[in-house]
Symmetry: C2
Subunit: 259 residues, 2 copies
């Protein structure tokens, strides 16, 4: 039996999703929990790598015990059965039998990320590691500039300027279908939806928009940044603290959170 | 110079506000930070004890360096000056010269606590240690029963039944001026305002209302619980995770959070 799971996790104490040589990872915790539950090692394939410290409100993966002797657990029963083996910063919100041939990464049509910024001083301890907290005041004009700048990222572009230079990927053309900014008091939430994202792309877009907001860059400088195809043309990389993988889109709708 | 500070903290990693023989406390962290800043020990008096794991969105204290050689720091400058010495789960949101004779505990006219409950399964990792997460569904009728039961606590009562038996306080009469419950999806927020609260009083009221909500007690059983003046008549003590000291009321208004 191959399971399709939807999970959510607080990224703060994880070195990202994917198993690393050292460090606590989401996949590593799931491997350990699943082995205890099924009595054998399991194959786990995620929809995305997420970086150290990045959160996921919705993350899909497949999980498949490697031995025919594995415990026979009905998919609906898996979240409750695995709960005792899971840490408190990781939860399973959906479990189904994986559709035939389903691949959580290749079948994803797109993703929505959210980035939470908090403008204000002093930092709020309740947002430690859950938002990017900045000792700046965001003026009404600054927020309007951020929104104007954000619109330039929408569409199909070569996003080389917004990719971490450590990445070796060749095709840097991606489509952003929506990029919204909303403000509520000191909090600014960026929501960005696209068919795919390069390494650190959301964090570099966020860092660049932040610089526009506090007056270090012009809103109308974005087209030139994109045209440069040069990482140094764009702004800083925002820290992982405020980044949330919010939704992953598939051709099927897998329903809402299990009750 | 005696400072009046307003702070906020995430209670999870603190053994409460007050310095203990062992364990990390809010007061202990403030003592250490203030001594580094002022170059001498400081006297710190808080508006309340809070228990291990309980959060504070607003907590008032006075801080006074014990030596005349203490660094001369203007009150407005204190939050920024002390920030480098504070941990990430504790922040200062206001600093003033304390009014003559001001005492943060004796001068408090009342307090508002909030208690956050999450009804649903599985638990949400983003609410770990920030809400009481319960694997129950709260029906519309259950929520209505909780609201009806809550109204019985409003007013002046002997709250012996809602006091932890470890407390040795003699006068158990307190006045609750408001007790509201609101629901938003899986989250239920209890807000309770009163002139004073006995040890564990909010957590015992919450635990009792929870039992009413899930059908273990009748809403109309509350008057008999209060009349019994016996801790065993009331419900369980809700865990500290969901409890927030939300506001403290004084005859003066100390203004809003510093920018």
């Amino acid at each position: 039996m191959k399971y399709l799971l939807r999970i959510r996790y607080v990224g703060t104490d994880f070195f990202g999703f994917q198993v690393q040589r050292t460090g606590r990872t989401v996949q590593g915790e799931l491997h350990a929990a699943a082995e205890k539950l099924f009595g054998c090692p399991c194959l786990i394939t995620g929809c995305s790598r997420t970086d150290s410290g990045v959160h996921a409100e919705e993350f899909y993966l497949t999980l498949e015990p490697t031995l025919p002797s594995a415990a026979a657990i009905p998919p609906r029963a898996l979240p409750a059965a695995m709960l005792p083996y899971l840490p408190h910063d990781l939860g399973i919100t959906l479990s189904l039998k994986a559709p035939e041939g389903f691949h959580p990464r290749y079948d994803a049509l797109g993703k929505e990320y959210r980035y939470l910024m908090r403008f204000g001083y002093p930092p709020d301890p309740f947002f430690t590691a859950r938002a990017w907290q900045m000792p700046y005041r965001l003026t009404e004009e600054g927020f309007a500039r951020m929104r104007r700048a954000a619109a330039y990222f929408i569409g199909t572009h070569d996003f080389t300027s917004c990719m971490c230079t450590e990445s070796e990927i060749e095709d840097r053309v991606r489509t952003i279908t929506a990029l919204d900014l909303t403000q509520e008091g000191a909090l600014v939430t960026l929501s960005v939806t696209g068919n795919g994202f390069l390494y650190n792309m959301v964090r570099i877009i966020t860092g660049t928009l932040f610089e526009v907001g506090v007056g270090r860059r012009e809103a109308d400088s974005i087209p030139a940044i994109l045209a440069a195809r040069d990482r140094t043309a764009a702004g800083m990389t925002a820290p992982p603290d405020g980044l949330y993988l919010h939704r992953v889109f598939y051709s099927q709708n897998f329903g809402s959170v299990t009750e």
